[in-house]
Each structure stands twice: as C-alpha cells, then as structure tokens.
C-alpha cells in the first residue's frame, strides 16, 4: 500500500486518451451505422422469408453471438488476408469486424421488434390501400422502432464499449491510449481511473441522448 496518486503525467499525455476516445466513438458510429443497415435488411428479410433463408440468417446470428469478439478481430485482421488477396489497415479491419458483429446483435433486436408489431396495424394499412412497400416504411418500421428503442440503446452502448477490443490490433483508441500511458509512465492506477471515468461519462452522455430520442418517439404516439 502507500501508493501516492499523481495525475501530472496523465494530464501531460492526455491527448492519447482524448484522441483515443474520439477514435473509439468514430469506430463505434461507423460500425453501428453499417450494423444497423445489415440488421434492418436481414430482419425484414427474415420475417418474410422461407425456411432456407431463415436458417442462413439464424446461422449468421448464432455464430457471431457465440464467439468471442477478440477471436473475430484476430480472424479478420490476421486470418482473412492469408486466404484472400486483400490489404486493409487495422482500423478498417476492426470496423469491418465490429460491423458484422453488431449486425448479428441488431438483427435479433429488430426481428423481435418486427414480430411485436400488432397484426391489426398491418391489416389497417392494407385496408386503407397502402402498397407493401408503404406498409413497411410507414407502418411496420416506425412502430418497430418505437418498440425496440430501449433495447437498441443498450445494444449501442455495449457496442461502444466493445471498441476497446480494437486495442489488441494496435488501433490507437481509448483503451490503447490507456495502455500506452500505463507502459510509458507507470502511473497505472491513475490512468485506469481516468479511463474508467471517461468511458462512464461518455456512456452516460450517450445514454442520455438516446433517452431523449426515445422520449421524442414516445411523444409522437
């Protein structure tokens, strides 16, 4: 014991953490945006598809959800380039991995949301003469969104935290910045205290923003 806290070195290298946090957010936003597209398309396809397509989508979802993210990150960064002739940077590789990863989680969220849309709403849409496409964009998706928003917020937050795994392939995001300061200054306790605070604060700001969106959608009812 008898450890004296000294944050001076942390502030001197704070750009590593701040720049890292911005990169974490960037990785999360891009991956989640791609993941949302994957999730929406596959979920809409799933609920109207035949058995074969359903089985394939389910296989994708189950496989990704049951394998550690760190293994998928290694697989895409170190494994894939050995069998296909592709070259990509570590950040691109991670965005690719997290997109496919978040897609699998978001299919599940959207699928259960779509299945929770009351049958009567779709029938009503049909009765007033909406085309199938109109029924999807004006009835099904907005209702589904309102139902899934709370689950969606949680998934987004959890994916933001998952960006820390990018540090294992040396992407200089927040966790990597923390490790850099850890190894170069040995102010270990301080750097992880600050990093913890940064993840927590960012998480709460994100959660607060998402709750505002949720409230807006609920008011639109």
């Amino acid at each position: 014991m008898g450890y004296a806290l000294n944050f001076n070195l942390i502030w001197r290298h704070f750009d590593k953490l701040w720049g890292g946090l911005l990169l974490s957010l960037e990785l999360a936003v891009i991956s989640i945006a791609i993941g949302v597209v994957i999730g929406l398309v596959l979920a809409v396809w799933y609920v109207s598809a035949g058995r074969v397509v359903r089985a394939i989508i389910a296989a994708y979802v189950e496989f990704i959800r049951n394998v550690p993210l760190i293994l998928l990150v290694y697989l895409v960064f170190y494994g894939v380039p050995t069998v296909v002739d592709l070259a990509y940077s570590a950040p691109t590789s991670f965005v690719l991995t997290l997109s496919v990863y978040s897609g699998a989680y978001l299919v599940e969220v959207f699928r259960s949301g779509l299945e929770a849309v009351p049958r009567g709403q779709l029938d009503a849409g049909k009765a007033i003469g909406l085309t199938p496409w109109q029924r999807l964009t004006h009835v099904r998706l907005p209702t589904m969104l309102r139902i899934t928003l709370p689950a969606l917020s949680n998934t987004f937050l959890s994916l933001f935290k998952d960006t820390s795994v990018a540090s294992v392939i040396s992407v200089p995001e927040l966790t990597y910045g923390a490790q850099w300061i850890n190894f170069n200054t040995f102010r270990i306790v301080e750097v992880y205290l600050v990093t913890t605070a940064m993840y927590l604060l960012t998480g709460y700001v994100l959660l607060f923003a998402l709750r505002l969106v949720e409230r807006r959608f609920r008011a639109a009812r």
Binding site: R65, L71, Y74, Y78, K161, T175, Q179, Y192, Y199
Partner: protein, 216 residues
C-alpha cells in the same frame, strides 16, 4: 497443414481446459457474490443499496478489457501481488458479479408485492420469506438469463490471453505463431467456442420455454 494442426491438438486441448476452468471459477464466485450483493440491493439499507448500485453501474459501464488491465496492472502497483491467473479470475468475477446482481434484481423484482405481504401476514421471518416464498419463484426467472450469461464468462475469458495466460485463445495464437496456418486455426477456435456457448444459450431458451407458464 492438417498434420500440423493434428499435432497441435493436445496443446489446444490444454488451452481449452484452462478456458473452461477460468469460466467455471468465475461463474461460481460471481454467483455467490452476485446473489449476496443482489439481495443487498433489493432488501438492504440505503447506504448498502447505494454502494451496490454504484459498484454494478461502474463495472457495467466500462469495457471488460479495461477492467482486466486495471486489476492486472493496478493491484501490484498498490502492493497486492496476485498470480496473473488469479488477477484474471478476479477481474472477470467482478464483471460477472455485476451481471448476476442485475439478474437477481430483475428476478426478485418480478415477483408481485402481494407474495411478500402475504408471507409477512402469516408471520414468516425475513429469512423464511426469502427461502420459502420469494426465491423459489424468482429462481425460475433467474435461471434462463443466468445460464445465457454464462456465455459472457466463456467469451470474456478469451481476453485473459492478453495477460499471457495460455487459454484456448492464446494457445491458438501460439500454434499460429509456429505454423502460420492462421485461417484454419481461427476457424477451429471459433467452432470450439461456438459449440460451448451455443449449448449454453440453447439450454437457456429451453428453460425459458419450460418456465413460460409462470405469469405475473
């Protein structure tokens, strides 16, 4: 290629055994700690409730990787020396404990208040109310998400490879370092993790359906 992988299989099996051992320890420790702290969160006095709430929200608010590094590098800095294996188990246990607390809170919270009141009315003590009335009902709500959450312990255990512990993940990386057969080995590893975790999530879904008869 195939012969190299076959040659490496016993080594991978050792890593896999370590993955299972870490997961098992984490699951057992976190179950005990999580249930105790969860009961504290639901029934405890205000200061205890606050302490558990802050613990759980902090742990769940940061990446597991940060938690693992914090424990692994931070403890020796303040003079606590743990073997890397036990530092890893401790970090993962903290993470799982926060989950178990929330499962317990959710399960106990889903039991109607009338049950507690009825038990009080017939003169049961606090301990009797928990053991005879609340826990037997809450158990069915607790079990499916808890079993599903065991997959998080197994998946999270892959991160201990970063502390130089030869679990399945680290064993795979070491074999790749010798053979350069990255793709087949990563796929093999993914299939092994998948087999374990899919079995767990399948069991969880089965139980959930089996307990679906319970209504509020």
């Amino acid at each position: 290629m195939l012969s190299q992988i076959l040659y490496a299989l016993p080594f991978l099996a050792q890593g896999f055994a370590l993955t299972l051992w870490v997961s098992l320890l984490v699951v057992v420790f976190s179950l005990v700690a999580g249930v105790a702290m969860g009961v504290g969160l639901v029934y405890g006095p205000a200061p205890l409730r606050w302490a558990v709430r802050i613990f759980s929200d902090t742990i769940r608010g940061i990446p597991i990787l940060v938690l693992i590094f914090f424990v692994y590098y931070g403890l020796p800095a303040v003079g606590v020396h743990l073997e890397s294996f036990w530092a890893a188990v401790l970090a993962l246990t903290l993470f799982k404990t926060a989950q178990v607390i929330e499962y317990l809170r959710g399960a106990v919270g889903s039991i109607p208040k009338g049950q507690s009141e009825a038990a009080m009315a017939i003169g049961l003590t606090f301990r009797q109310r928990l053991t005879y009335v609340i826990f037997p009902q809450a158990f069915r709500r607790f079990l499916p998400p808890w079993i599903n959450g065991v997959t998080d312990a197994v998946k999270g255990s892959a991160l201990v490879s970063l502390l130089g512990i030869t679990d399945l993940m680290q064993a795979i990386n070491q074999v790749i370092g010798r053979t350069y057969e990255a793709m087949p080995l990563y796929i093999l590893g993914a299939l092994i993790y998948f087999a374990v975790n899919y079995a767990l999530s399948y069991a969880s879904r089965r139980l959930e359906r089996r307990f679906a008869f319970i209504r509020d």
